[in-house]
Amino acid sequence: MRRPGKLITRNSLNMTFNRRTMLIGGAQGLVGTILAGRMAYISVVENERYKMLSESNRVNLTLIPPRRGWIIDRNGKPLANNKADFRVDLIPQRVRDIEATIGQLGQILRMTPDEVDDLRVAMKDARGLQPVPVAAGLTWEDFAALSVRLPDLPGVAPQRGFSRQYPTGAAVGHLLGYVGIANAEEYEQSKNPLLITPGFKIGKDGLEKYYEQRLEGKPGARKVEVTARGKIVRELGVKEDTPGKPLKLTIDGGLQEFVARRMGRESGAAVVIDCQTGGILAFSSMPSFDPNSFSDGIGRLEYAMMSQDERVPLLNKATRGLYPPGSTLKPMAAVACLQNGVDPEETVNCPGGYRLGNRFYQCLGRHGPVNMTRAIEKSCNTYFYAQAHRLGYDKIAMVAREMGLGEEFDLAGLNQRYGTIPDSEWKMRKYKQGWTASDSLNAVIGQGYVIVNPLQLAVMTARLASGRKLYPHLIPNDKIAPTLPYAPEHLAIAQQGMAQVVSQGTAARSKLPLEGIAMAGKTGTAQVRGFGSGSRGGAGVPWKYRDHGLFVCFAPVEQPLYAAAVVIEHGLGGSRAAAPVAKDFMTYMFDPQKAMDSLLALEAGWGGNIAERMASEFATFRARSEGGAPAEPAPEDSAP
């Protein structure tokens, strides 16, 4: 190892030592300088950035979801309001052990196995910061019990806030819609942090969705200082939320609830319209869903029950249910006849039907000679067959459209199916065939190609009763509706016929039980199975093949205030199923106490009010599905 020529002495070693010590000292100084420079760089050049990071560590900004604007009826009574509420959500990203957390929550909150299952399923699909609702409406004790255990339950977010409440429950389901937590796509679209704030909900359907902007309000914010473990040290400031603006409707809350309850166990729809303004007083489709339970996040089982129900509670039948209107169109057809010069006193002999070529079109009875009002009163098909054959249906269709049939209304975004008022041009367009006399005969009694929704029937009746071209609406407005282009005396004849329907005709059993106030109406029975197949849908056939019962009406006869249409699906007949319902809610408008008394008697026989019946149906359904029955309906063609 020794290099030649280099002598090692104590002195040379000391020199080496000194040199190398200086070298090391210099290196150390260099490191020290680098450290000082690095620190200066971090704390001066990057100061702003790190200050911000430090603040975002320290300060936790939580949005306070705004209280949603109330939805009130025409008298200021709340149809949807907010209740103070303790709720708890799970933030998927922050949960460490999902199973353990769900288990603990289930224990602390005493959740049922169904609810725990639902939560587990919801958590499986959940991602990121999108809150998954666990429970709402907690008691103070449960809320407190949960709050003290928070340090061991990361991702659990209990909150004191407000939640949407619908005091009349299912009665307003299809009218108002419901609210719910924004889904992932909605958040992706707007990136609004409010959408993933626990407790915040947006309108998901109906008016709640259409008027979202107005009802939403502005969020408040709470600034708190938090430790790394999420413990709140102190509050730094609160900005209160700005509640959404209230939304006033034309709806009469009392009537809305009464109608829904009066529909009882039937499946159907009813619409009541103010004959002076066109404002909708009641808008009901039953059975319905309880928007309260939808807004809390409906359970899978409850949803399964609703989607399997043959009465389709999830469909808004008032605007999306299409029905052959049957004889309810006869007063309208009468106006069309008068417009086309038919003498109202001219009589047509009814021998129990009408012969067209080699076919005989049935009437419901042998009415003998009938004039126009009597034809309405007795719902004589023969009279209207004769008139339609003479005039052709195109002329009647024009009046039908003027009355609002086949029309899609501008109605707060409510999804409508507007059906068909056929004429020769329509048939040529659609089927490439000419219009026949047979088509006219079928159409005039509201069968064949004619198909309408209950809202249109109510509008027709309101226009007929008021003589004005009323437009249905839910938000009050000052518009004055123009008068219909028909002579008042012509309308009076149709009205007279309808008055006779109730006073002595097909709906005579549904006279209003009131002194001095009479109702005018028209019954209708619409066949579900093909008309002319010869098979009537009477009581002897399965429910879903039975005839629909319809009734349109207005009251009082002399000075109409309210017009309505009622459709009872598979109710067998208009006078039997629909007219009594109309009688009761019309009574409610003039004497609520009397109407309520008779409703309570009926409900006693049906097994309770809507909420009670829905609860017991759910209990039965649950018992059955736990008993091993498949939760999904078997396909219809599975039978051999």
Partner: protein, 374 residues
């Protein structure tokens, strides 16, 4: 010197005492804040420990050089055996073990090994004939003296301490005149060895620490959290700091280990760049003093030991500061006089005491003529 001060008192190394007391006192102030404005649990004990260890250092100062030289190899042997025992205990119990329980006192042999390796190698070079200083026989024994404790500590596993043990010993070899080309060769070989060591010698958590160091943002809530939060604390302090007791990073627990390994970040958050330069400046004074002591030492043993001990102290300071500023991986090395913790403070004060002893020898031998720097 003022004449009325008694000679033994006047002869005390007041300069270094002042420096260490200042840093340690600042440490007490920082630890008071780290505890949320409380003497307990750290600040009080820190002050007490420093007092005890300062006395210990002054006692060590009085050891004669011969006494130290005589004690070096037996002490080295003793602690090598203890290190082996710790290792065996760890193997038996499963998991890593770094200390021996001695009646409530935790004895961590690896800490003693840092100055002992330096002393042993300095003693070795002092013993061999001057002519052999650059020969092979002057190289392999120190490598064994370093290698044995290095291996035992490395397998504990304690990456930081093992490198510290090595760095002190290698420094003495360097100062003793081992040819430069050997260090350059070893450096190149080491660089080639790094990938091998990374994949085969490091445990998974150690590998992760290195990877996270290279890219802290890749894992902001895991291992990189330490580095990120430390940088946030230092960076948010700015020039003047957030004010005493106002550090949110430390007080709200965002900064992990804010009283031990990351105490510098705790300090910098509240005292800013000014506080940081103050601390770095004091350390610079300390190391300058230590370097001057070793340069002025009259004996070869004193020179070599002084240089090695200086490196041991420097190693603590540099690695810790590089770590908290995000320039080195998280290796768990505390900052002298500021970090709470007994064993590291003891090691540092042993080094300081030995350096004080070397300085005393220099003074008493009166060979001030040989002083390079005064």
């Amino acid at each position: 010197m003022l004449s009325f001060v008694p000679r033994p008192v006047a002869d005390l190394p007041w300069q270094i005492i002042a420096i260490t007391v200042t840093i340690a006192a600042f440490g007490v102030i920082v630890l008071y804040s780290a505890a949320g404005g409380s003497i307990s649990p750290w600040a009080g004990i820190h002050a007490l420990r420093f007092g005890v260890f300062l006395v210990m250092a002054l006692v060590i100062r009085m050891f004669s050089e011969n006494f130290v030289k005589l004690g070096t190899f037996p002490a080295y042997a003793l602690f090598a055996v203890l290190l082996l025992l710790v290792e065996l205990a760890g193997a038996v119990k499963g998991g890593s073990q770094r200390w021996i329980e001695l009646g409530g006192f935790r004895l961590q042999p690896s800490e003693f090994m840092k100055p002992l390796v330096v002393l042993a190698i300095a003693r070795f070079y002092e013993m061999i004939p001057i002519g052999q200083a650059r020969s092979w026989s002057a190289i392999w024994p120190p490598l064994v003296l370093i290698g044995v404790p290095w291996f035992l500590v490395m397998t504990q596993p304690d990456l930081g301490t093992s490198i510290a043990v090595m760095s002190g010993g290698v420094t003495v070899m360097f100062l003793a005149g081992v040819p430069l080309r050997l260090f350059i060769g070893a450096g190149l070989a080491g660089a080639a060895f790094v990938p091998f060591a990374f994949f085969f010698l490091l445990r998974e958590y150690q590998q992760n620490r290195v990877l996270i160091f290279l890219d802290p943002e890749s894992d902001p809530l895991g291992t990189g959290y330490h580095i990120s939060q430390s940088k946030i604390a230092i960076g948010s302090g700015g020039i003047g700091g957030k004010g005493y007791l106002q550090g949110s990073q430390s007080h709200l627990d965002y900064l992990p280990e804010g009283h031990t390994d990351f105490v510098f970040a705790t300090m910098a958050e509240e005292w800013g760049l000014v506080g940081g330069l103050f601390v770095i400046g004091l350390f610079a004074l300390l190391l300058r003093w230590a370097t001057v002591v070793s340069l002025n030492a009259p004996s070869r043993f004193g020179k070599l030991a002084g240089g090695g001990l200086t490196m041991v102290i420097f190693f603590y300071i540099a690695i810790n500061l590089l770590m908290v500023m995000g320039l080195a991986p998280v290796v768990g090395i505390p900052l002298p006089f500021l970090s709470y913790g007994g064993s590291s403070m003891m090691t540092i004060m042993i080094c300081i005491g030995l350096l004080m002893g070397i300085e005393r020898n220099t003074r008493e031998s009166g060979s001030s003529a040989g002083r390079v720097i005064s």
